[in-house]
């Protein structure tokens, strides 16, 4: 599982966000560090929805939090419209922040329980004042209406709403500052099945209505497929595979991606169910495995995987990149010749 290499970066004028060699370490005491994110590289073009998928501990949420500087960046760049967010400080950072907004997994705990929801939504506008568009009752009502919460409930507090309603309010709060980028960290994982579809459709509608670029983080492969144009698969702090959604689901090349697709209760038709048998011991992120980080669980691992970290390389001519010494799709293609 590399992360080394930048083959997946696109040379286009409309790249809005470029994350290059991002490293995030957390101190774990006794001089140990958690290698949460290790040299992660990807880009997002304007208007795109990029999905980041992986299991717990893969670093997907840390990547999101690092982009908006909720955690400190150890090394690497986060270029937003050409400016490095990782190096911005003080007033410069403050000025960029409204443009990149985030919604969180737990809709209820991410809203201040003591404030009226109208004030929760308005807080960013109140802070920014006339810089963005002044705080007006009409503006808040319009936002509440857009996300499907009746404006007449604006004086209520978060506990008076259901989880789905709270997530709508969280979305309204994020949209209040007229952001260009919306980062969604597991936005439907805490919601009931019958409510998830409502929120996913709402996000699609808001994306279209406000011209958003979306970074969508989830562990759920079906949800990510539904919303994303392009997908990054992460494992233990590294990028394994990245590509257009169609490519990635129709010909998954990385053994880990295939294991994920084979493990879901109704497995994807492109993989064999036995490919999901990868053991359930996730190695420690304080002492990640040498070479390819997936080699300890990978059915295809050989000596080279233990020693050399694979670089991301293109698969065929498609928008599809994989960091693996023994990718699956290539062999299948060779075998077909």
């Amino acid at each position: 599982m590399a992360g080394t290499g930048h083959a997946q970066l696109r040379d286009r004028d409309d790249v809005l966000l470029r994350v290059k060699d991002l490293v995030v370490h957390f101190p774990a005491g006794r001089r140990r560090v958690v290698h949460a994110v290790s040299e992660v590289t990807f880009d997002v073009v304007s208007g795109e929805t990029l999905g980041i998928v992986g299991e717990s501990g893969c670093g997907k949420s840390t990547v999101a939090r690092a982009i908006i500087r909720l955690v400190d960046i150890t090394a690497g760049e986060v270029l937003y419209e050409g400016r490095d967010l990782a190096r911005l400080e003080g007033e410069d950072l403050r000025r960029v922040r409204p443009q990149v907004q985030m919604i969180f997994q737990d809709p209820i705990s991410s809203l201040n329980p003591r404030r009226r929801v109208r004030d929760v939504i308005a807080e960013g506008l109140a802070v920014w004042g006339d810089d963005i568009g002044s705080w007006s009752r009409d503006r808040i009502d319009e936002l509440m209406d857009a996300v499907g919460v009746e404006a007449r409930y604006g004086a209520r507090r978060p506990h008076e709403f259901s989880g789905g309603q709270c997530q709508r309010i969280g979305i309204a709060r994020a949209l209040a500052l007229d952001p260009k980028v919306l980062i969604c960290d597991e936005p439907v994982s805490a919601l009931d099945v019958s409510i998830q579809a409502q929120i996913l459709n709402l996000l699609q509608d808001m994306k279209r209505r406000y011209g958003l670029t979306v970074l969508f983080i989830s562990h759920d492969l079906s949800v990510v497929k539904n919303v994303s144009d392009r997908i990054v698969v992460m494992y233990l702090g590294k990028v394994c595979e990245i590509g257009s959604t169609e490519e990635l689901y129709s010909s998954p090349a990385h053994p880990y991606t295939r294991a994920l697709l084979a493990s879901i209760p109704e497995p994807a038709p492109t993989v064999d169910v036995s490919e999901g048998d990868i053991g359930d011991e996730l190695p420690s992120a304080t002492a990640p495995p040498s070479g390819c980080r997936f080699h300890t669980r990978c059915p295809r691992a050989t000596d080279v995987c233990r020693e050399v970290e694979p670089a991301t390389e293109q698969v065929g001519d498609a928008d599809h990149f994989v960091a693996c010494h023994h990718p699956v799709a290539v062999e299948v293609a060779l075998g077909a010749r």
């Binding site: 099945v193 019958s194 492969l221 497929k225 144009d229 959604t245 209760p265």
Partner: protein
Amino acid sequence: MAPDQTTAAPVPLLSVRDLHVRFPTERGTVNAVNGVSFDLYEGKTLAIVGESGSGKSVTAKTLMNLLPRTARVSGEVTYDGRDVRALAAEKVKHFFGVQMTMVFQDPMTSLNPVKKVGEQIAETLRYHLGRSRSEALEEAVELLDVVGMPEPARRVSQYPHELSGGLRQRVVIAMALACQPRLLIADEPTTAVDVTVQKHLLDLLDELRRNRGMSMILITHDLGVAHGRADDVAVMYAGRVVETADARTLFFDMRHPYTEALLRSIPRIDDPVHHRLDPIPGRPPELIDPPDECAFAPRCIYAQSDCLGGVPELSGLVGLHRFACLHPTGTERGMAAMSSNRAAGATAAGLPVTGSGGGSG
């Protein structure tokens, strides 16, 4: 379920009849379970599927005698011919946890954080089966081996925090198996773990059930999990079973509009990218003072005026395909209801219906 009704029908291992559970609260009485009935046969898996508030977990806790004292319970629970709710206190002690055991969602909260996992398993064996300390610890190692724990001899002396979520859940399963139960109730056993781990745990439960001839009740909100792992499925909504059938019938020839709507609303791995989802409008009802109507009617695109006139009964006999709906999907009545709602532009409950909005018509 689905026993042969004509020949001498086998006796179910567990039989639940007209179970009601109510909780008095400051805001009023919560009607958590409203007349649930089902049978579970030896060696079978029944999945109980529902969203939060549907009553699935309360049903499980009622079976395991784990409800708070304030709960008001009525109905019959018969296990192997015995009335479980009438068991004497002395018998109860070695019934729950021995004959019938339970695995919970979050392994971290069902394990004692300051006790080695081996001792926790051994405790069960010593209490229920009177094993000595050393015998029990030896058996704990064997049990960990059975549940697929790598290096079981070393793991017995570890604490829960030293194990991953998947391994912790294996410890909980080992504890549940310690006394060779005939019925295992698994309440969202894989909701707190990753997909690759989920697969291993579900495979393990399947294998244990088959090898030991155990019966299982699998409580889940995940229709995919229920589909792959259960013989029979009961769908719960607002404290009632609204549809129950063998898994195949339920997923491919369902009759209740809620079952249909739920299956339509979830994104599937083989759907095309950016496929527009068909959400269920509105949200689940309040369980305090529910109106005397079909609980799903306000969200149902088939709803007619008779749906608002009383709670529909579950059709047919226990063990067959049963559903509680007056205008079932996939039937003529359902199709007629759908086309009249489309023509009117709304259901009898006032839900707008557009020409393209879901339904099988």
